[in-house]
């Protein structure tokens, strides 16, 4: 029951802040839409006309996923930095629920809210390009959810580092381009990327959308790799976060900013 109350409190806070910082939210959506437009017109003017439809569809999925990945993976890190700057981080650490639980409920809330924004972005992109993807929610949603677990894991790792290394913002800015590379590069080009977080899932969703597949069309080994990947990154993320918390408490870094 306490988990539910914790989730309610954090969902409400995220929703209220999203509304009160509405210009920021709009700016974010517009930025991603402009990036999509750049990719779309790039393909239109300098791409191969024979593979125009496929390339545009590939770009739509990739841009939407890149934005979702960035928001998810940087979220807890930015959250920690913001809380430390505001002076509320130590107050969160006074909660008997534990900060990882607070952050987990926050990121789940954010994912819920961001998904709505992403769906709008997706439809905006499809409307602009005239290319309609097979969304197939019964297939894509389960894969996306499992993929997100690995993103949450990485997000915890980044947040852990943000607690002890306060100047992590510069890294986060560079990190978004690393994420871009991971999202855009097809796994067939670099199969080892299946071990990287979320890449396998993004590829599976992209394949489902572009080739109009269902859950049963994908192999069990694909699901096995996806689930294992997500669990490993989630556990690793929580372990790293916990270790970083302990270091911060030992060195007295929690309240510093």
């Amino acid at each position: 029951m306490k988990w539910l109350h914790l989730f309610n409190a954090n969902f409400r806070k995220e929703y209220i802040e999203l509304k009160r910082y509405l210009p920021n939210t709009i700016a974010l959506v517009v930025t991603f839409y402009i990036i999509f437009l750049a990719a779309f017109f790039g393909i239109m003017f300098i791409g191969d006309p024979a593979s125009f439809d496929t390339n545009v569809q590939y770009s739509i999925v990739s841009v939407v996923f890149w934005s979702l990945t960035m928001m998810t993976m940087n979220f807890i890190g930015y959250s920690v930095i913001t809380e430390a700057t505001r002076g509320t981080l130590e107050q969160l650490y006074m909660s008997p629920m534990g900060v990882w639980k607070i952050m987990l409920t926050r990121i789940v809330s954010q994912l819920g809210l961001q998904s709505v924004i992403m769906i709008l972005l997706l439809f905006g992109a499809m409307l602009t390009s005239g290319q309609w993807l097979s969304l197939n929610p019964m297939t894509t949603i389960p894969i996306i959810i499992v993929t997100m677990i690995s993103m949450v894991g990485v997000s915890f790792m980044i947040a852990g580092l943000a607690i002890i290394v306060k100047q992590i913002q510069a890294f986060l800015q560079i990190f978004q381009f690393v994420l871009m590379g991971l999202v855009f590069v097809p796994i067939t080009v670099a199969p080892f990327l299946a071990f990287a977080p979320f890449v396998k899932g993004v590829n599976m969703v992209r394949t489902v959308m572009l080739e109009n597949l269902t859950l049963t069309d994908l192999s069990l080994s694909d699901y096995g790799v996806l689930i294992l990947n997500s669990l490993v990154y989630l556990i690793l993320g929580l372990v790293v976060f916990d270790r970083c918390e302990k270091i911060a408490m030992k060195k007295g870094l929690l309240g510093q900013y």
Partner: protein, 327 residues
């Protein structure tokens, strides 16, 4: 009396990043707090007060010793121990400025696992008690500093913990708000009988609210006693003597040689000698000195010392005092 907090031999050493120089912020500090007691934790800047407070809250790990809150070791069972302690650590910075007053109260209670329904009555009561009812739907960034500070304390109270730690509750507030806050805290102390630890430089707050005071200096506890005992200790032998005329230079020199800590203030409209006597009978020496030249004494008043002066004298090492033993 039941001890709700027991601190045994805690230490904290920081290392400077560049020079690797070790700084002993807290050295072998031990004390206890009884259930329902209001304790003042005092000390000059850099004395080790904040490190001690943070170790009490489980935000900083001690390098040695142990802290137990309601029988729970804060290092070993941190989250369980935090169910018994809440704190206001950075005053108005402890709040979300883009949330309203009520939303802040509800959010922090939610973070402790309470539903909005569970705390509804108490939220209303606190809003009334802190005179924030009219502002409940206003954003925190639009409130005055005093109101933000009151809200931060209300947030800590809403946690329903046995122990509340208030770090500088009146810092940066004007006299009026500080007085109002002091009265609210007095009511809470009287009505709720919770254990409260106040760390403050505002000595009237300590004198008015605290049962006991612990003074930390250079990382060590230098005093641990009841506030009334400390006031008594410093108060008894300080006198202000108003003279009918000025002292002669010889008398003035003699005064300062017999009573080196005395002060002599002579102006056109009054002449005052303030002495702090080691022993009660020393006053006769002062009378002899005045009698030599027939100096008239207009009045003798015992100086009422306040806690600020006690604090200064202790920190400056002007007085030593046996500490209450740690049992």
């Amino acid at each position: 009396m039941e001890k709700i907090i027991e601190v045994r031999g805690i230490s904290k050493v920081y290392e400077k990043r560049k020079t690797k120089e070790k700084i002993h912020a807290v050295r072998d500090v031990s004390f206890y707090v009884n259930r329902g007691e209001v304790l003042g934790l005092l000390g000059p800047n850099g004395a080790g007060k904040t490190s001690t407070i943070k170790m009490l809250c489980g935000l900083l790990e001690s390098d040695g010793g142990s802290i137990s809150i309601n029988g729970l070791d804060i290092c070993k069972k941190r989250l369980k121990a935090l169910e018994h302690i809440s704190a206001v650590l950075e005053g108005n910075r402890n709040l979300y400025w883009r949330l309203t007053v009520r939303e802040n109260l509800e959010y922090f209670a939610g973070n402790r696992g309470y539903s909005r329904k569970q705390i509804a009555d108490q939220t209303d009561k606190l809003l009334e008690q802190f005179n924030l009812k009219e502002k409940e739907n206003e954003l925190v960034n639009g409130l005055s500093r005093g109101m933000q500070q009151k809200l931060a304390i209300a947030v800590a109270l809403l946690a329903n913990t046995d122990v509340i730690l208030l770090d500088e509750p009146t810092l940066g507030l004007d006299v009026e708000v500080s007085y109002e806050l002091r009265n609210i805290l007095k009511t809470i102390v009287r009505e709720e009988k919770r254990t409260i630890i106040i760390s403050s430089h505002d000595m009237p707050v300590v004198q008015e609210l605290c049962d006991r005071a612990i003074i930390i200096n250079k990382g060590e506890v230098v005093i641990d006693d009841r506030v009334e005992n400390l006031l008594k200790l410093f108060e008894t032998r300080a006198y202000s003597i108003k003279l009918g005329e000025q002292l002669s230079p010889e008398q003035e020199n003699k005064l300062l040689s017999i009573f080196p800590l005395s002060t002599y203030k002579a102006s056109s409209h009054e002449t005052i000698v303030e002495v702090n006597l080691e022993h009660g009978q020393d006053i006769y020496e002062l009378f002899d000195l005045l009698k030599e030249e027939g100096t008239m004494v207009e009045s003798i008043d015992r100086i009422t010392i306040d806690f600020e002066q006690v604090f200064i004298q202790i920190v400056k090492g002007g007085k030593t005092h046996e500490m209450a033993p740690f049992i």
